[in-house]
C-alpha cells in the first residue's frame, strides 16, 4: 500500500492492545452509599461518561473490566466485595470512589472497613466526600493513561497517583483550588442557606479549619515532597 507516509506504521503490540482496552472499559458499579449519586451524575447525560469509552455498566462481574467501589464498605460487606472482585475476568481494574472506599472516611467505628485496599488491590483513588463528577471523569482519564502506559496491574497496590507523580501532584493542587474557590463562593452567596445571620462572613481560615486533614495536611505535604524528590 502506497501512502504519503511510506505505506506502513510500526508500533508495539502492547500499545495497540492497551489502547483498545482503555477505550472500552465496561464498568461494574458496586454502589453502596451516597457516592452513588455522584456516580450517576457522572454517568448520565450531563457529564456523560460514555464520551470516554466507559459507557455501559455491566451488572455481571464476568463482563466487567473496572470495579467501581462507590461508597462505604462495611465488614459485613467484605466477603461480597471480595467475591465480586474474584469473579471478574482479567485484565481488571479497581477504582476506590470517594473517601469511604479509599480510607473509611469519617466512619472510624465498629462496622466499617478502613479502606478497600486492605481487601483488594486498588488502581485509583478518587478523593472527595463525595467526589464531584469532574473529579470522577478526571479519575477515569487518569486510569486510561495508566492502562495505556503500564497495562493491566495484576496484583499488588499500584496507585496511579505515584506512577504519574507530576500529573497527580498538579491535579491535587488543582482540585484543592477548585474546591476551595467553590466553597468560598458558596459561603459568600447571600442566597445560600448556610448563611443565617446577616453580616456574617467566613474567613479563609474557616475553610482550613483543621490543619490535620485535607490536601494541605502534613501527610499530604510529606507526600508532595516525596514526589518532588523523585
Amino acid at each position: 500500500m502506497e501512502t504519503d507516509y511510506g505505506g506502513f506504521k510500526t508500533t508495539k503490540f502492547d500499545s495497540v492492545v492497551n489502547w483498545s482496552r482503555k477505550f472500552s472499559l465496561f464498568q461494574y458499579p458496586f454502589v453502596t452509599a451516597c457516592c452513588g449519586m455522584e456516580y450517576m451524575a457522572a454517568a448520565c447525560s450531563h457529564y456523560d461518561m460514555s464520551r470516554f469509552g466507559a459507557e455501559i455498566p455491566r451488572f455481571s462481574p464476568r463482563q466487567a473490566d473496572v470495579l467501581w467501589v462507590v461508597g462505604t464498605i462495611t465488614h459485613k460487606m467484605t466477603p461480597i466485595l471480595k467475591t465480586i472482585y474474584d469473579q471478574m475476568a482479567d485484565p481488571k481494574w479497581v477504582i476506590a470512589f470517594g473517601a469511604c472506599a479509599s480510607s473509611g472516611g469519617f466512619y472510624q467505628n465498629y462496622s466499617v472497613l478502613q479502606g478497600i485496599d486492605r481487601l483488594i488491590p486498588v488502581d485509583l483513588y478518587i478523593a472527595g466526600c463525595p467526589p464531584r463528577p469532574e473529579a470522577v471523569l478526571d479519575g477515569l482519564i487518569e486510569l486510561q493513561n495508566s492502562i495505556q502506559n503500564d497495562g493491566p496491574t495484576a496484583n499488588g497496590i499500584t496507585p496511579t497517583a505515584i506512577r504519574h507523580k507530576d500529573q497527580k501532584a498538579d491535579q491535587l493542587n488543582r482540585y484543592f483550588e477548585i474546591s476551595k474557590k467553590e466553597v468560598f463562593e458558596n459561603l459568600q452567596n447571600p442566597k445560600s442557606n448556610r448563611i443565617s445571620k446577616p453580616g456574617f462572613t467566613y474567613s479563609e481560615d474557616f475553610i482550613n479549619v483543621s490543619p490535620h486533614i485535607g490536601y494541605d495536611s502534613p501527610r499530604m505535604q510529606k507526600d508532595k515532597a516525596a514526589l518532588k524528590e523523585k
Binding site: G104, N109, L113
Partner: protein
C-alpha cells in the same frame, strides 16, 4: 428551657397529662415516674408491667395506640445513672392523633424484658436490632438473633463500654500504610 427541666429546678410537681392520669389510675403500682413536654407524655413503668400496660394501650378505646413507632434502648453508663439501661417505646394513636413514650429501666445484671411482638408485628425486627446493638434479651421473642451485625461479631457495639473503634473483620485484611495520622489517635 424545657418544661421538664424547669419543673425539676423549681421543685413543682410535673404536669400530668391525660394519658398519664389514665395509666396511673389503671396501674397505680406500676407507674414510677412521668413527665410531659409540649403535650408529649412520657411514662416510666416497672418492667414486669410492660406486657399488661402495652396491651391496655393498644386495646383500650381511650388509648387506641395502633402503631408502635419505635423501640430502642439507652445505655446510661456514662451518664452515671442507675439502673444502667433504659428501654424506650414510642406509640402513636391515629384515632386520637397523639403519641406516648413509655420507658422501662433495666439493670445491667438482669437486662431482660418481655417481648411485645405479639401485640404489634413491627416489634419483631426492632427487638432484634435492640438485642444486636445493646444485648438486651427479649423473653418470648420467636427469633432473637442479630439483625445488623454478622453472627461472628462478639459483643454489642452500641454499649458504651464497647471500644469505640474496635473492629472485628470478617475477611483477612492486608495491612496498609497508616493513613489515619489525624483524628482521635493523634
Amino acid at each position: 428551657m424545657s418544661e421538664e427541666i424547669s419543673t425539676k429546678e423549681t421543685g413543682t410537681p410535673p404536669e400530668t397529662g391525660e394519658l398519664t392520669t389514665l395509666l396511673k389510675q389503671e396501674f397505680p403500682d406500676d407507674v414510677t415516674d412521668f413527665h410531659a413536654h409540649r403535650d408529649d407524655e412520657t411514662v416510666v413503668i416497672k418492667r414486669d408491667a410492660l406486657e399488661a400496660v402495652c396491651r391496655f394501650l393498644r386495646d383500650d378505646t381511650r388509648c387506641s395506640f395502633e402503631i408502635m413507632m419505635d423501640l430502642t434502648a439507652v445505655d446510661r453508663l456514662e451518664m452515671n445513672e442507675t439502673p444502667r439501661f433504659e428501654m424506650v417505646y414510642h406509640f402513636k394513636s391515629l384515632t386520637h392523633a397523639r403519641r406516648l413514650r413509655l420507658k422501662v429501666r433495666l439493670t445491667e445484671d438482669d437486662c431482660k424484658i418481655a417481648s411485645i411482638h405479639h401485640l404489634w408485628k413491627a416489634v419483631d425486627w426492632y427487638e432484634r436490632e435492640c438485642f444486636d446493638m445493646f444485648g438486651i434479651v427479649f423473653e418470648g421473642h420467636p427469633d432473637l438473633r442479630r439483625i445488623l451485625m454478622y453472627d461472628e461479631f462478639e459483643g454489642h457495639p452500641l454499649r458504651k463500654d464497647y471500644p469505640i473503634d474496635k473492629q472485628q473483620p470478617l475477611m483477612e485484611l492486608k495491612e496498609v500504610e497508616e493513613r489515619h495520622v489525624y483524628g482521635r489517635h493523634s
